[in-house]
Amino acid sequence: MLHNLIKQAAADIAVAAPSRRSVLMGGGALVLGAMLPIRMRAEDATGPKIVGPTDPRPHAFVRIVADNTVTVLVKHLDMGQGIMTGLATIVAEELDADWAQMRGEFAPANGELYANHMFGVQGTGGSTAVTNSWDELRMAGAAARAMLVATAAQRWSVPAAEITVEKGAVRHAKSGKSATFGELAEDAAKQPVPTKVTYKDPARYSLIGNAALHRLDHISKTNGTAQFALDVRRPGQVTAVLARSPRFGGTVKSVDDKAARQVAGVIDVITLPIGVAVIAKNSWAAMQGRQALTVEWDDSKAEKRGTEQMIADYRALADKPGAKAAAKGDAAKALAGAAKVVEAEFVFPYLAHAPMEPLNATVQLTGDGGCEIWAGSQFQGVEQKVAASVLGCKPEQVKINTLWAGGSFGRRATPNGDYIAEAVTIAKAYPKAPVHLVWTREDDIQGGRYRPLFLHRIKAGVDASGKIVGWEQRIVGQSFMAGTLFEPFTVKDGVDSTAVEGASDMAYSVPNLAVDYHLTESPVTTLWWRSVGHTHTAYAKEVMIDQLAKAAGKDPVAFRADMLQDHPRLLGVLKLAAEKAEWSKPLPQGRFRGVAVHESFGSFVAHIAEISLNERQQIKVERVVVAIDCGRVINPDVVKAQMEGGTGWGIGHALRDQITLTDGVVDQTNFDSYEPMRMSDMPVVEVHMVPSTLRPTGVGEPGVPGAAPAVANAYFSNTGKALHVLPFAGRGAV
């Protein structure tokens, strides 16, 4: 899985030494010794092992000050998934704080203190944040609580064991003494950090699992005060936009910038290896200036194929065996003896992430040869190194200020820190003022880093009793790991594990399985996209399963349940969704439903979609019932929101979205041609959670994979037409 592989890559990344370790509790600074993270596998979801350092580090994560606020230093980017709220909840619970006194702040870039234990560098992704922080934040909260109690015990000359803490109040019942955290904070910071802490008994949890807690950002994001990277205003800053090659892999041949320089507000035009930067006193002038540029591009190494040609090339490849990703039993033989065989070819288009806040970053060079960056930074550990390499400084001379990110869906984390590198490159070329690089929506839609175009071919068969006997699957598509520092850990013997995840690890009991993969190459840049390989593998698998259920004459839920007897958590969510959707009862006239169930990122999700069809047999998704098992639920409303959003994300793209190329140039330009899901497309989403005491796992991505196939299966149940080519609009189904 992605996060396990990335953490191994960490060994190759020079992690920045911390420039500032003095995170404060109260007034006193306390510098902690260097601690190397102990890296654990994310699959230890059920195990007792600790992920990360084994001793408490309250000073790294908790700041309590005299005004009685408790600030949690959040090392992960909150791009909407609610991680600031989730992590603050964990600390508040162990601290016995009052939710109203909790605050959140993004931690500085500091690989030593804030590495993601699954990656080995500071960064957010792979739905790892909660699992990754669960131990260290419980320890930090419990240690801070012990230090507050020790302070009160000394101050009041009473035994610590007689002191209670509840909702932010520290009390000694016998003497009637009490104090707030704020009153104790300064002295508490001077207490020795306990080497061992006792966690709270989960039976006493009042914040973890509490659906009534509001998100920490619920006010600042409703009155315009929340600060995003695009809102950064440094004194004297200039705005830059970059003209990039319209074809992937193209380079600048010649530039005529005469007209651009005459645009009011344009300050400078700089030709760089990465494109032509227009520097202006505001965004509008920069954009107007870029429009006035005449640039000739060298396309000799650029992608000049259109999407149709690429798909034809993929088809030709799919006729030949690829590199082996999974081999169990003898699938060919089993299929030869099958009672019924189903074959299908799936095509998944390139997809853009298109976060609402376009990519942007502000860079200010510092006197020591380093720089300060303001961005919705998702891979701080990588970006520090990338910026340092552009400037020729040390990573610790790169200070990163992480701000709220207006969405990401994977886009802000890239193996080469792409847009950060652009911003630093331009700032280096224009050192006179802080530079704010801004991407327009067109830059974003046409700028690559897409979910790769994939083609799957599947042949699967059932025996006379209706059991699947064999499954052959061939996957063709680009690898966004190949050619990056992650390649050695993700691409083995020609197989990119992130391209086949969700297919090679088939959960259904299929006795004979063969999955192979063709790694294709193109200058078109690609990237992980919310739920990574599962975006296409779950779809192909779940649509195929419905076709096989039909061939076997079985009910889609019962067919799946029979094959999931060894996967109790998948079976659990399937049953829960079926019960809540009343699968066994008939639907009203004109409604049709479909199911999908899938594991990703250690969480288990079932979707049951209900659709209606208009007179042209076009899909309207009416209702989706979601069941999730993500272990212990930290914040039920945030989990619910992620299932709502993940479901919308999966369905929205399946309905209408694709990035296509004609002669190497992207056909879509903005939200008029890459049409996002809108209010009237959104179904009612009901979310049900499996009660669990297991280690919490992620929710940012697992809501995505099953949503679209559940809709496709609903369509199939009525029309008998399986939707193998996405988006649905291309097949007349939308």
Binding site: M79, G80, Q81, G82, H214, R215, D217, H218, I219, S220, K221, T222, N223, G224, T225, A226, Q227, F228, L230, D231, R233, T239, A264, G265, N282, S283, W284, M287, A354, P355, M356, E357, P358, W404, G406, G407, S408, F409, T440, R441, D637, A641, E644, G645, T647, G648, W649, G652, N670, F671, D672, P676, M677, R678, M679, S680, D681, M682, V684, V685
Partner: protein, 152 residues
Amino acid sequence: MIFLNINGQEREVDVPADMPLLWVLRDELNMTGTKFGCGIAQCGACTVHIDGTPTRSCVTPVEAAAGTAITTIEGVQGKAAQAVQAAWQKMDVVQCGYCQSGQIMSAIALVAENQNPSDEDIDAAMDGNVCRCATYQRIRAAVKDAAKTMRT
């Protein structure tokens, strides 16, 4: 010089007449609550009120806004604004939050005019505001909650 009335205050700006109001607000006046999402009136992140009507500031030349009353997220007030913001907060609508200034501006105009909007009314009023996090279900619920507040 172009004279603008923004949130009840007179402001003057020295910018090209065709510069969109969005960039005047964000880059000239440092009012960053109004967001840039697409630049072609397809996403609604830049929605402000001009004389009470929700308007996409990214395609509104600043000269067209002179002589009008401009209201941005920073300056909304009154019963409808309070009802909408309170509903958004009560229901924890936001995820990334970037589109929400625009969503809220559209919603305020809707409930000020229609205090009992149907689902179709909400679709019609809000379809121009994109939320990539797909918080639509909560937006719908919050609009209905705000409308209910308006009726009481």
